[in-house]
Symmetry: C2
Subunit: 231 residues, 2 copies
Amino acid sequence: MTLSALTAQATRQDNFATQVLSQLKQDILSGFYNPGEKLRMARLKERYNVGVSPLREALSQLLVEQLVVVENQRGFKVHPTSQAELQDIYQTRAAIEALCVGQAIDLGDDAWEASILAAAHQLKKSAPLLDDTLQNSQQWEKLHHNFHTVICLGCQSPALMQVRLGLYEKASRYRNLWLKQHMVDNAVFDANFKEHDELVETLLKRDKEKAVSMIKSHLLAPYVLLKDSQF
Amino acid sequence: MTLSALTAQATRQDNFATQVLSQLKQDILSGFYNPGEKLRMARLKERYNVGVSPLREALSQLLVEQLVVVENQRGFKVHPTSQAELQDIYQTRAAIEALCVGQAIDLGDDAWEASILAAAHQLKKSAPLLDDTLQNSQQWEKLHHNFHTVICLGCQSPALMQVRLGLYEKASRYRNLWLKQHMVDNAVFDANFKEHDELVETLLKRDKEKAVSMIKSHLLAPYVLLKDSQF
DNA sequence: CCCAGTAATAATGTCGACATTTTTGTGTAA
DNA sequence: TTACACAAAAATGTCGACATTATTACTGGG
């Protein structure tokens, strides 16, 4: 216990289940495990260097987040993918994030506007690196997500933000699976630099209707690419 | 294991964690445990007749649903309540359910309309019993929730329905805590029988704007009562 | 050759035990 | 009396072991 806790450079304020949760989630979202793949305990124990108890706790949480499924006495599997779920997730995500943006425009203050400009700036600065390594691509995606998160934070609703995050994660799984399959990186989705500038402008002008509409199409753009793929 | 599994009349297709999850959730939502109350393992083991493993799995799931909180090495507590969260939950719930209703009006078919009429009928039939026992009151609340669920099902989005359910549950916790505190039953909230009739009519007419508006005010009505209470 | 029934193998779900940490209780000194 | 240090008690988090259940392999009959 002390051994692996230290080797894993664990903050002592997290228990094993919490650590395993984030690793396991990352592995599922990144496509390390395939949809529907059986998650045998022996293998998981070996990979994450923990016993079954923390593993089952982590898997239980992923169960609620619908990233794994369970059948009694038959263990855990990675949540299967489907065209129907892909569509549901992307469309619902667009609707939810549109809701966030709409409320943010009503409620956002000066600090909100400032944070948007800051996030947009960081995003733009990292854009030139896009064609570079996978790591840079992931870094850009992180900034991209941060940009949208900051916008949504203006809605001032933790509940909405949490729902939004869950949908983002599930969508990112489909995106990652697609990227893995097609051997390209995030850059494919994000040729729309201009959209961000225009979005910022629209938000600062508090043009609710246009901003909501832009967000929806912005988030559904990747779906158009993904929807005809095989998962 | 076999013993308690049988005494609890357990369907063999559910493991202990699943059974404990529903009981524990029910106990939290019903207000059996107080907000912020410490959930000591010894007590939980005794109450639910299981070991720590299934308990921790169930609690892990409630953690994701934000019905409990955890601090490392200090165990689990019931999620605390707050005015801020009360407001966030009720307002977000209204927004989400309005979204469901809006989409349902766009997508709902004949079967959807029929199911609404059926649910409304059942609800109306059970209304006369309202002043009766606590059990009838809970039965009515169940039918009431079913009525709204059926309406929302027209949106044809499992993701949205799941989000909606989570918010309903959290809202119901606040409602139950309030009821417990004020020593009255659900009937207080539901003097609005006419609203249901009018809502059905509006839905069948596909008057989206009016239906969305009605749902919002319908769901926020209890909040007006709750918001000035002490939790 | 293929299928059914059965034995073996493997994997799951649960509990009890142990080490670690937190909390409680007690006594001493200022 | 209050504050602090230290000891005792309790509670948490984890693992290994065990019973139960599912899966695979094998054998014999059709």
